[in-house]
Amino acid sequence: MQSLNTTSAPHSSVVIPHYIFAALSFFILAFLIIISNNSLIGHYFQPKLLAITHVATLGWGTMTIFGALYQLLPVISSSSLFSEKLAKTTFYVFGLGIILLVISFWKFSTGSFFIVSASVVFTAFLLFSTNILLTIQKSPKKDIETISIAISAIWLILTGLLGLLLVINFTYPIFKQSHFLFLTTHAHLGIIGWFLFLIMGASAKLVPMFLISHQLNRKKLHLAFYSVNLSLILFSLNWMIFHIEIVNYIAFVFILVGIISFITYLYESYKKRVRKVLDIGMKHTAVAFIAVILPLILGFISIYKLNFNTTTLLQIIIAYGFTVLLGTISSLILGQTYKTLPFIVWLAKYQKFVGKAKTPLPKEIYSEKILVVQYIVYLIAVIVLTIGILLSSKLTITTGAVFLLVTAILFNINVFKILLHKPKIEIKA
């Protein structure tokens, strides 16, 4: 019999703290953007922007992914999680590391505190990746989706290692070349290697499952997997070692081919779907994939510079990072939280009543109205903030950040509504 996975899913106490930490981080992120709207104008290498970036990438993005993956990996790999204890330990180590690292960036006083902070985060990456890789190792099926997730865990370790070396370099210079080259590599190991690979692996499995679509052309997934990997290897080696301009062009073509190939796979799934009506969770997901076009354009300009002056280019680079993190990745997380968290809580509270009592559906344990408003306000926030960054307009940035804060508040209300849901059952006659 095919493996069925609520039995192999970890206990909800392993997963849920990640969602709480992430939802609060999203709120803090919006708040920090409001109080430091200056940071989104000028050079990207400034303490507050680095702190904000790490709240977004670690506290919001990566924390959600850690939690979601502990729940979803058993579904994707047909193998229960290697260790729930290790997952719980990782959460505490990672949570502590994020808080220390963000404080370190915000204050930017180099030295041992900074290095210890980065080391704690790196340790959490090692613990997480060990758990994921050992889970996949005992998995009976190692398809392209599972392999993508394994590879993303390896890229995560490399991202953390380079990040730690960069932090050490602030106090004890170890890089002979400009640290910006390593910073660029660190950022892209994270964006492409960790986030993109993980998203590709998980979405390739989940999107067809949610939309109910079958008989998709899996060659597109293979092409996407190899192209994106090759692109990242080329970019990284070229930035750190070779510095040959043409290699950047080639690497960009590979990533473009990879992303287009992956998007066409998802589009095929969308066209062949049985569930014609998309819920808001899936609309958020669709926005995430459509929004990928923005960082691709902005990234293209950042690499080729075209004829833009330095001031404009710096804004384009910040807008590039912003559209990746708060456009694509955040939209995906905002949507997929509603496709996962209500089920995790629903299973924990209602599984024992299934078939014996009438239970609400998972989607009935949060407010659909709040979700609809959250979706619209989020779209406004991202559009206004992107325009504000590109135009270097403080007022526009603050306005966009207020919309983002409202999004975060609405999101938190629904997340806590789900978490604090009290079971309502009617015993069947």
Binding site: L4, T6, Q351, K363
Partner: protein
């Protein structure tokens, strides 16, 4: 003949009973989704055998749905053992949905 009629009658009742089993993600019952392939009511063995599928292999809610099927049958047929056999042949397709199922999904 009477035994055969009894079997048919009960299989009809079970078919309708299974309309109470709703896929928690999709929000549509498993009968209208076309997931129930066969119902075998065996009076002599005191078993009710359900042959069914899922819309996607490895569905994370698969065992909840099976649990629901068993508990729903056990609630009405207290002296019978419900047996659920999950099969992947024939592969589920949208054509297997009822008119109501298709309408619910906008298909």
């Amino acid at each position: 003949m009477e035994e055969f009629n009894e079997k048919l009658k009960n299989e009809g009742i079970i078919y309708n009973l299974l309309k109470n089993v709703i896929d928690p993600e999709v929000g549509v019952n498993i009968v209208d989704m076309g997931l129930v392939y066969e119902i075998d009511y065996a009076e002599s063995e005191k078993t009710i055998h359900i042959k069914m599928t899922l819309s996607s292999p490895g569905c994370p809610l698969g065992d909840v749905i099976i649990q629901d099927v068993k508990a729903t049958i056990a609630g009405t047929y207290k002296n019978f053992e419900p047996i659920v056999e999950l099969v992947w042949e024939p592969t589920w397709s949208p054509d297997m949905m009822t008119k109501e199922g298709k309408e619910a999904l906008g298909y």
